[in-house]
């Protein structure tokens, strides 16, 4: 499947912004066998005083920009063409939970895909007893890790309500969980806490959803802004598997990956210090259109 993606993020400042430096993680990734960035362009207004591209620890593409200040508006405009290959559903050969710990301990790597990064607390997700207990109650005898991942995701989809007004980008997952409301970021970070509480390494994926559904299918929630979902490590054999708890689906051809990390803090689309920017207003507009 081939997509044309358009994203515009606008920050407005009143009266004007001071000097600022931002890290932008907006460019869709190339993931061999799954996704290929055919072409992409990120336009920044006003023209930044400095602009630099680099790759972060996790392998995400970063654009770093610095502004001198004195502007009333910043605009980041992404246009990209991406080819996505949906993997066929595979047999569940993942490790049972009881064996996962031993498989994990045998992993002698600290590379970006090493599961060890994704087990302990991270900036935004600190596992708490409520999440662990919730997840543990879903366990059945001899469930595989993958089955547990799906069970937790489905349970959250059932028990949580999608509500864009209930939380902000800085809401703690425990608080969103207590209210059983939130957006894709909350669903994903809660699910990550649940899985880590069970001893399953889990990380955060940011990306896009196709805006208009294929004929006969419902529109996916979260398609009008950047989206987020979860990936979990299911043992040596199966490795990493993605799951979208907001829509209770295994991501396929409709999900386009931008960045991967431990939680939102690692992959925030725009990160940076906004000096004197108390009155910053953000708008986001997304279009993800399949090409015929």
């Amino acid at each position: 499947m081939l997509y044309d993606i358009g994203l515009t993020i606008t920050y407005s400042y009143a009266p004007t912004s001071g000097p600022g430096r931002h890290l932008l993680r907006l460019m869709p990734a190339t993931l061999p066998g799954r996704q290929r960035l055919v072409a992409g362009r990120l336009a920044v207004e006003p023209r930044p005083a400095e602009e630099r591209r680099w790759t972060d620890f996790w392998g995400n593409a970063v654009t770093e920009v610095a502004f001198a200040g004195g502007h009333a508006q910043e605009r980041f405009r992404l246009s990209a063409r991406v080819e996505v290959t949906a993997a066929p559903p595979a047999l569940d050969l993942s490790a049972p939970l009881a064996r996962l710990g031993a498989e994990l301990a045998a992993q002698r790597s600290l590379g970006p895909a090493a599961p060890h990064h994704f087990l302990g607390p991270s900036d935004r997700v600190r596992p708490w007893a409520g999440a662990t207990d919730y997840a543990r109650a879903l366990l059945g005898p001899d469930m595989t890790t993958l089955a547990i991942v799906q069970a937790v995701g489905q349970a959250l989809h059932r028990d949580m309500r999608f509500d864009a007004q209930a939380t902000t980008v800085d809401t703690d997952p425990a608080e969103a969980f207590a209210r059983r409301r939130g957006v894709c970021q909350d669903f994903s970070q809660i699910m990550i806490a649940c899985l880590r509480g069970l001893g399953i390494p889990a990380g955060y994926v940011s990306g896009f959803l196709r805006t208009t559904p294929p004929p006969g299918r419902a529109r996916l929630a979260g398609a009008d802004a950047m989206h987020a979902w979860v990936r979990a490590w299911c043992g040596v054999e199966t490795g990493w598997v993605d799951y979208d708890p907001t829509n209770a689906v295994m991501p396929g051809a409709d999900h386009i990956v931008v960045a991967q990390g431990r939680d939102y803090a690692d992959v925030a689309p725009v990160r940076g210090i906004l000096r004197l920017a108390a009155a910053a207003v953000t708008t986001q507009a997304v279009d993800v259109l399949p090409l015929p």
Partner: protein, 791 residues
Amino acid sequence: MGGAAQQTGGRWAALLARYAPMPGVADELMDPAGRVRPVWHGLLDHLAARSPAEVDAQIARGEHYLRDAGVFTRLYSSKDETERAWPLSPVPVILPERDWTHIAEGLRQRADLLEAVVRDLYGPGRLVAEGHLPAALVAGSPEWLRPLVGAEPRGGHFLHLLAFELGRSPDGGWFVLGDRTQAPSGAGFALENRVATSRVFSDLYPEANVERLAPFFRRFRDALNGLRADDDSRVGILTPGPMNDTYYEHAYIARYLGFMLLQGDDMVVQDGRLMVRTVAGPRPVSVLWRRLDAAFADPLELDAASRLGTPGLVGAIRAGQVGMVNALGAGVVEARALMAFLPRLAPLLTGAPLRLPNIATWWCGQAAERDYVARNAGRMMIGPAHSNRLFFEEQAGHRHDRPLADWLEAEGAALVAQEAVALSTTPVWDGGALVPRPMSLRVFLARTPDGWAVMPGGYARIGQGGETTAVTMQAGGRVADVWVVADAPVAAETMVPPTAAFRRSEVSILPARAADNLFWLGRYVERVEAVVRLLRAYHLRLAETDRGERPLLTRLAGFLALQGVAVEAPLAAVLAPRVAAARACAGQVRDRFSIDGWLALTDLGQAVATLDSPGATGSEAARRLGQILRQIAGFSGLVHENMYRFTGWRFLTLGRALERANAMAWTLAEFADPAMPDGALDLAVEVGDSLMTHRRRYAVATTRDTVVDLLALDERNPRAILYQLDLVRDLVDRLPGQGADGQLTPLARRVLKVQTDLAVADPGTLDTAALQALRARTDEIATLLARAYLT
């Protein structure tokens, strides 16, 4: 031990009457047979030759020094701003040189080992790949900073300044209790310990063959200067700021070594280079000795919530533009869990077993270790694996809300167990005699081009009671100097190398934030003085005026109210916050500010806090306010007589001059107004401290013309507006970037215009409206100054 006194022929009997080391622990003063070790003989003879009262008098000399030097620490367990005196135990710990040689060799090896581990963890990752270190341990460390993985440190090394905590075990051997690689503190306090202790024992110290500390600092300073990119760039000390518990030390060491003291927002990254924002524009910094934990250093790539950092710093480090002392992320090797692995890593990475053992440690992330800990928990302390605290600083063994085995099973990877070892004891002075107290050493190592330099002594921590596993300063423990005593006389050394030719060192550059604080310090102190003068005038008249006939008093009270002062409020309530504001500014620039000036401000704060007592209004209040005025004059005198005319002094003086000009314009606008009641002109002259001058110059009673002439237009009266504006003009002309190419800057142009307009004015044209306009114009000057230099 009574036996000790007998064996020494009784000459120390009184001193040692209560000195009884506990069985089963080592003692620094006495060997296991109860004999005093030879290195202590000189000190004991010195003490024994004096009466307890004489010794107390000597100790008081050390305490005076610390108080006069303003040495303090902040209690970091609490949120408040309590500062407390540095808790020095005057009796040093004395160690023979051969002990020290052994310690130094062991620690040099350990420093090389830690460097090799850090290098691997941020580079090839061989230790994890080959199974020498568990991946889960490293990945779980909050100090393993992923944005720094792969970044080669400028100068080639990760570690430059290290501290190690050491104890002596019951068998007499030394062992390492903890490693400090993040941002070790205490080196500056070691110097203060030394100065204070050498004052206490001023007769003994010069003859006692004690190894000097200064050469260590000189070598470290030279090493840091050697790390710079070029001679144009600077070395800075990065501090979290005055709220940090060791800020005093940061300011002290900056002053001692001649480095800039910087906070995160003093700096900015431009095109990959780190620059300090100074009053003369951005200047490069290529070496940062950080006293800030790494996570706070860059909100862009590390802790996003940090307000203490510099956005883009990590990028500048990756680009090789900044040398960090120590590298960001070096804290990963100070986690105590690592001590479980260092004995095995030493042969692998240094080719030899550890020369100095470390405290027995078990990381509970592995099943075999977990079981062992569960079986032997009774003689262990269990706590967080990634903490760098020492085992005796832990509050409790383990949490009792569930069985130990469950706790270890559930959170094993986050836990570590350490053997609870007894520490040796050392003498402290207690009511005329010596008593034994537990102690640990802190030893500093600095990387130099010739290898690791070891600071010979300087810092020991002394426990409070007889309990030999409880040594914490926070809980009331103390600190002592450590003397390493050589067999031969040592050369007295200071920071200045003996062979160096005379050289006038370059004037240091002034960060914009420091200039801003100095400017406001000048303003705030002047503001305190103005309010005190007005209040004194009020209370003098309150004493003299009949009730019901005091329109001038009412106007004065109203004028004070405009400045936020309620005349009926307690004086302390009015003045204390104003002095505190001045002190807060001074606290931000302690490295640039004389110790006497700081103490004068501290004294002023204490004086205003105790101004009030029942019934102290009227003439009694006026008398006390007069005392405060004299104290403020004392502060101003210290600053203006003693402060070198650096750029910083100019900003301080500009603040004072603009504030004084503004306040005088306001006072005249109010009390020289024709509509004012009788006595207003005299009041203005009194507030302007110009009674005598007026009498001499005019030989007539006050009129509006004489008063305005004297207080606004007289260029020779230091209280007059014109005098202050002349001063402002002169100071601005000497600021960086002024008059460089013959062009007036907007600031200089405005100052010239305001000053010239006033110089040609006469009392008749300078009416109330004109005075109010003059106030506004001084505010404009302050705004232009801030825009050009202070932001």
